[in-house]
C-alpha cells in the first residue's frame, strides 16, 4: 500500500524569508495556495448497539477539523460526484473518505479504519488500532493523527497534551489537559505555589518550579508514578525550566546570590553550567530544536529584550528591538521563528519573529493580556494564557493569529506548555 502525500505542508500563508544561513531550520513552512483537503467521514459502524462509535466519530471529526488541513464534507455527496467541480457549490465533493468499524472485545476497543481516495475508492490505508475501553479518546486521536500523516506527510498533534498551572495566586497546582480541552486533571495537591511546567522530550516527565519547601525549587515529576524528585533545591530562585530534546540538558533561570542567570544541567540535576554572567536579569531560556542555541530574556539593555546565545553561553546577540518589554521566548520546533510576549499600549500580546530578527508578526489581536506562548509539536499552533474574559485561561491559536479557541474555561490557569506527541500510557 503506497503512502500518499497530498501536499507538503502549506497550511498557512507565510511570507518566504531567507533562512538558509540558519542551521536550526530543518523543516520550513512554505507559502502556497493552500486548499484544505475535502474529506468525508461517514458515521463509524459498531458491532454492538451503543453510542461508542458515535462518540469516537465525533472525536475524529473534531481532530481533523482542528488540524486545519481538512474540510469535512457531507458523506452523502461523495458517491455521485466524480470530481471536485461536480460537487454542489456549498457542499463540494469529497476527495478522500474515511470509514471505520469499532468493536468491543473483552474491554478492549478494536478499531478498523480505511482511508480511500475518491473517486475510484483507491485504498490509501487500511489499518487496525486498539486501546483499553477507557482510552477511547486516545484511540480517536491515534486514528486522526494517522490520517494526517498519510495525507499531509507529517504526524498530527491530536495525541498531544498541554500542561499548565491551575489555581489562584500563591496556590497553584500542576495540571494537564488534552490539546482539545478534554481530560483535564490535576497532578499535584500541595497547597503551595507550583508553576511553569515543562515536558521532557518523550513526555514522561514534567519539570516545574515548586514552592513546596518554601524555596522556589526545581522539581521533576514522573508521569507514570506521580513521584516528585527535587533536582534543584539550593537556596534561590529556580524558574522557567526548558528541556532540550537533542542535547538532553535542562536550561533554567537560577538566582545564586541574588542574580538571576541562565544555567544548564543534566536531567538528573548534575553538571551545572553557568551560561550568562551579566549583572542584569537573565531568564526564561528556550532551546532551539537542534539544542545548539538558547533564546532568553535579559534586561541588560535597561529593559527586558529577547537574546540568542550558543548552548555554552557564547555568541550572545540581541533579537528584539521593538518596544520596551519583550519576554517569554519560545523557539518553534520548526526552528525558523521565535514566539514571545511584547508589551504594547500597556497590554501584553503574543508575537513571532524569525530567528534573524526580521519579519515580526503579531499573533494575538490586542484583546486582554496574552502570555507564555508555547508551540504545538508541529510548530503550527501556539498555546498561551490570556485574561481576555476577566480570568486567566489557556487558549490555542494558529500561529498566523487565526482559529482562536479556548482549552480551559474556568478557574485561573497560567503558564501552559504544549507536550511533545504522546504515546498511550
Amino acid at each position: 500500500m503506497k503512502r500518499m502525500i497530498w501536499m507538503t505542508m502549506l497550511l498557512l500563508l507565510m511570507p518566504t524569508y531567507e533562512t538558509k544561513a540558519q542551521e536550526d531550520v530543518y523543516m520550513k513552512i512554505q507559502s502556497g495556495g493552500f486548499q484544505p483537503i475535502r474529506i468525508s467521514i461517514p458515521m463509524f459502524s459498531f458491532i454492538q448497539p451503543t453510542d461508542l462509535s458515535q462518540d469516537l466519530h465525533q472525536i475524529v471529526v473534531n481532530d481533523l477539523e482542528l488540524s486545519g488541513f481538512f474540510r469535512i464534507v457531507s458523506s452523502e455527496h461523495q458517491g455521485s460526484a466524480n470530481s471536485a467541480e461536480n460537487g454542489e457549490p456549498g457542499n463540494p465533493a469529497a476527495e478522500v473518505e474515511l470509514e471505520a468499524q469499532l468493536a468491543l472485545n473483552s474491554s478492549k476497543l478494536m478499531l478498523s479504519a480505511q482511508l480511500k481516495e475518491l473517486p475510484g475508492q483507491q485504498t490509501i490505508f487500511n489499518k487496525e488500532f486498539d486501546s483499553p475501553l477507557d482510552k477511547m479518546r486516545w484511540l480517536g486521536h491515534r486514528l486522526a493523527d494517522e490520517v494526517v500523516y498519510y495525507l499531509v506527510g507529517e504526524r498530527g498533534i491530536a495525541s498531544s497534551k498541554i500542561a499548565f498551572a491551575t489555581g489562584k495566586k500563591m496556590k497553584r497546582e500542576i495540571a494537564i489537559v488534552d490539546y482539545d480541552g478534554h481530560n483535564l486533571r490535576k497532578l499535584t495537591d500541595t497547597n503551595a505555589l507550583n508553576i511553569s511546567p515543562t515536558w521532557s522530550p518523550q513526555g514522561d516527565y514534567l519539570l516545574f518550579t515548586s514552592f513546596i519547601s518554601g524555596n522556589p525549587d526545581l522539581v521533576k515529576m514522573n508521569m507514570d508514578s506521580g513521584k516528585l524528585n527535587w533536582i534543584g533545591e539550593r537556596k534561590g530562585l529556580h524558574s522557567a525550566p526548558a528541556w532540550s530534546t537533542e542535547r538532553n540538558r535542562i536550561a533554567i533561570t537560577f538566582s545564586a546570590n541574588g542574580n538571576p542567570d541562565i544555567y544548564t544541567m543534566d536531567p538528573d540535576g548534575g553538571n551545572w553550567l553557568r551560561l550568562t554572567q551579566s549583572p542584569a536579569i537573565d531568564s526564561s531560556p528556550s532551546w532551539s530544536p537542534t539544542g545548539n542555541q538558547i533564546a532568553f530574556t535579559s534586561d541588560r539593555s535597561g529593559n527586558p529584550q529577547i537574546y540568542i546565545m550558543d548552548a555554552e553561553g557564547g555568541n550572545v546577540r540581541r533579537l528584539t528591538f521593538q518596544g520596551t518589554y519583550n519576554d517569554s521566548p519560545a523557539w518553534s520546533p520548526r526552528g525558523d521563528r521565535i514566539a514571545f510576549v511584547s508589551r504594547e499600549e500597556g497590554r501584553f500580546q503574543i508575537y513571532t519573529i524569525s530567528v534573524n530578527g526580521e519579519n515580526l508578526q503579531q499573533v494575538t489581536d490586542g484583546t486582554g493580556n496574552n502570555e507564555n506562548p508555547s508551540w504545538s509539536p508541529n510548530g503550527l499552533k501556539l498555546a498561551f494564557a490570556s485574561d481576555r474574559t476577566g480570568s486567566w485561561n489557556i487558549y490555542v491559536i494558529n500561529w498566523d493569529g487565526t482559529h482562536l479557541r479556548s482549552v480551559t474555561d474556568s478557574g485561573e490557569n497560567v503558564t501552559p506548555e504544549w507536550s511533545p506527541r504522546m504515546q498511550l500510557k
Partner: protein, 174 residues
Amino acid sequence: MKKRLFFAVNISVALLLLFGGCSKKTTKVDEQPQVVEETPPPVEEKEPEKKAPPKEETKSGIELSFKTVYFDFDQYNIRSNERDVITHNASVLEAYPNVKVLIVGNCDERGTIEYNLALGDKRANTVKEYLQNYGINGNRISTLSYGEEEPVDPGHNEGAWAKNRRAEFKIVQK
C-alpha cells in the same frame, strides 16, 4: 552530586567576583570584605528579646519594625525617595543584632509570571546589597521572590500596582 553542584556554582561566583571588572558589581565587591569582618554581632544588646512585650525598644528607642521599599515599574534600582526607608531598616537591624530578616520581592500583576519571579528576586537582593553596603551582615538577610503572586492590593490600576511593587521585610528570628 550535590557537592559538585555547589562546587560548580562557587566557581562561577568566584569567577564573577574576579572578572566582574567593568560592571556595577565592582563597587559592591570592594565593600564585601568589610561586611564580613563585622560578622560577630555585638552581645550587649540581647535584652530587648526578653523585656517589653508590647513594644520592643532598644536603649536608643528604635522600634523593631521594618518599612516596605517600593519600586518603579519593571525596575529594581532603589529610588532616591526609598533610600531613607532602607537606611531606617538598616538602623533597626543595627539596633537588634540578633534579628534576622527575610526580604520578599514582589511585582505588580503586569508582565509574565516567570519574568516577575526574576524581577522580584532582583528587587529583594538589591535591597539586601544596599543593607550590606550599609554594614549589615549578609548572613542576617535572606531573600525570596513571589513575583506577582502576592499583591497587597488586588486592584488593576496604577494605585494598586505602585503598592504591589515592593520589597517586604519579614522577621524570621528575633
